[in-house]
Symmetry: C2
Subunit: 313 residues, 2 copies
């Protein structure tokens, strides 16, 4: 199960009634934040999922409206009592950017681990998520993020009992290891069901459409994607500023066969993004105009309670 | 005439209903901002005095809740079309802090001039204000600011006419120069009235009371001063965190014979600062609990319209 909520939907500058674009994700008790513009921590405070468990912050790129909230948030996470490591990822030179911004957050009670990523990288995110990134197409190096929560194959506890496999070996079988014990040995396949579908989401902002997105984003349950301009007539402006229209974002969701699309990163000139929703829904019906605080949960297709014996890995 | 408005009154962390402490000042069409925590630009947007004319930003110290909003604001000032220089002042190492933060605001269409100050310095602020700073007493180097708008002595235009002084020389007389012309010469004192009182304000935050404040702040028309804790019972906490109670701030206002006191920089733990106002008013009756958007104007004691001939210098 993954819980997701938007912390903001703005672009360029924070407005009195619109926080900058940011996505907060909760998985297995860990929090992951995507982008952190000025004021994001105020929106997070309102959402109320807490600060101490923020274990990773993933930056799309280094424009101020996506990172300027970092020093303040790092302090607030400290004040909330975090001591465990915090991972910050971003495109090349993220280390330099964090070093610069930490001039006003030099001493923190937890280690900050910065990881510069490049398109094609696959990396571990907290909560057992597998992260992956693809190059976006923006004026500066920018990353599109995808995160997948794999689901373990079903473990046949009854068969394991009948074979007399000691229970402390079950977990190793579940993760695919061969086990031996006094009186026997078995391959994991004998006790594991077929592969099962996991859940996934993606966070894609500050980019033109990229041909590879259809593959990179294939089958995500939730696509959080920029739609800086709602009006199709702003297509030329979208190209000029390396952003997208609602229709372009919806086309990406359609081609990737996403489950749902949350539009975000609205131009400050667009007072009422909802008025353009039909431009997205005409192409991808499950489109939603994002707003701070909207939430959803991505659950495994089958009830997790069907695996009572072992924690899902 | 100086217009002043509070952009925020918070301490430590921005809250959904309380922006961080900041003061915006308008004088002769120029804007000066005192401190710039995360979210200050959002509050400024609501105040509506614009961004293009922000000509100076004065930092009390380098704690994040007083400076983290800088990179975002620098971008917003750029987007508003500023091309003239922007002065940033602060305690020693302000240059380094600005250099660090500008990692996400490297290219601006206006020059940024950073000036490191130390207690005792007197410097020019935009709009003809004379700035001065004194050391505050905080955990890190911190400055208390005072700004004075001097008033020119009254120029006796009638006498100048009778003496036959050419009108293009009047301005030089008004600023205190001796002038000569075909057929005469005169000292400025002959045409200038007695000294006249100007107006002044001060911005003092993140400090314990300092003995020299009574002199440094003597006679300011408006003292904007931190009162992190309203309850007298929090005195020990105030000492421990190098802040002040309302009563201590009011004592400073009283000793300096200030015109009015605006309390600000409220601890996030203090939900309703107004409930402690009486602790300040018992010592200094003209105390006000600050809130974002409160405004005042400091006008010269005599009507400026009494100087119709020349612009006030």
């Amino acid at each position: 199960m993954i819980d997701l909520t938007l912390a903001g939907t703005g672009a360029m500058t924070p407005l009195p009634d619109r926080w900058l674009s940011s996505l907060l994700v909760r998985v297995r008790g860990e929090l992951i934040l995507f982008d952190c513009g000025e004021g994001t921590q105020i929106s997070l405070k309102r959402i109320g999922w807490g600060f101490r468990r923020i274990a990773a912050i993933c930056l799309s790129h280094h424009h101020a409206d996506h990172v300027a909230g970092l020093p303040g948030l790092l302090h607030t996470i400290a004040n909330a009592g975090r001591t465990g490591p915090l991972l910050i990822t971003g495109p090349p030179h993220t280390r330099d950017v964090i070093a610069g911004l930490r001039v006003i957050a030099p001493d923190l009670p937890y280690p900050v681990e910065v990881c510069d990523l490049k398109g094609g990288d696959v990396f571990a995110l907290p909560g057992g998520l597998q992260g992956s990134v693809a190059w976006a197409d923006h004026r500066v190096p920018c990353l599109a993020y995808r995160a997948d929560l794999a689901r373990a194959r079903r473990f046949d506890a009854e068969a394991a009992r009948q074979l007399g496999i000691p229970q402390h070996l079950w977990r190793r079988l579940q993760v695919g290891e061969r086990v031996t014990w006094e009186g026997g040995a078995t391959e994991p396949d004998a006790l594991l069901g077929p592969n099962r579908q996991g859940v996934s989401f993606a966070y894609v902002t500050d980019t033109r459409p990229v041909p590879g997105f259809a593959t990179f984003l294939a089958g995500v349950d939730l696509l959080v994607c920029e739609g800086t301009y709602g009006d199709d007539a702003d297509q030329a402006k979208a190209i000029r500023h390396t952003h997208m229209t609602f229709a372009e974002a919806a086309t990406i969701a359609h081609e990737a066969r996403a489950g749902q699309l949350w539009l975000t990163h609205f131009s400050p000139a667009m007072a009422d993004p909802a008025q353009w929703l039909s431009n997205a829904q005409a192409i991808f019906p499950s489109s939603v105009v994002g707003s701070a605080g909207i939430k959803t949960s991505l659950a495994f297709p089958e009830d997790e309670a069907s695996d009572p014996e072992l924690p899902v890995l």
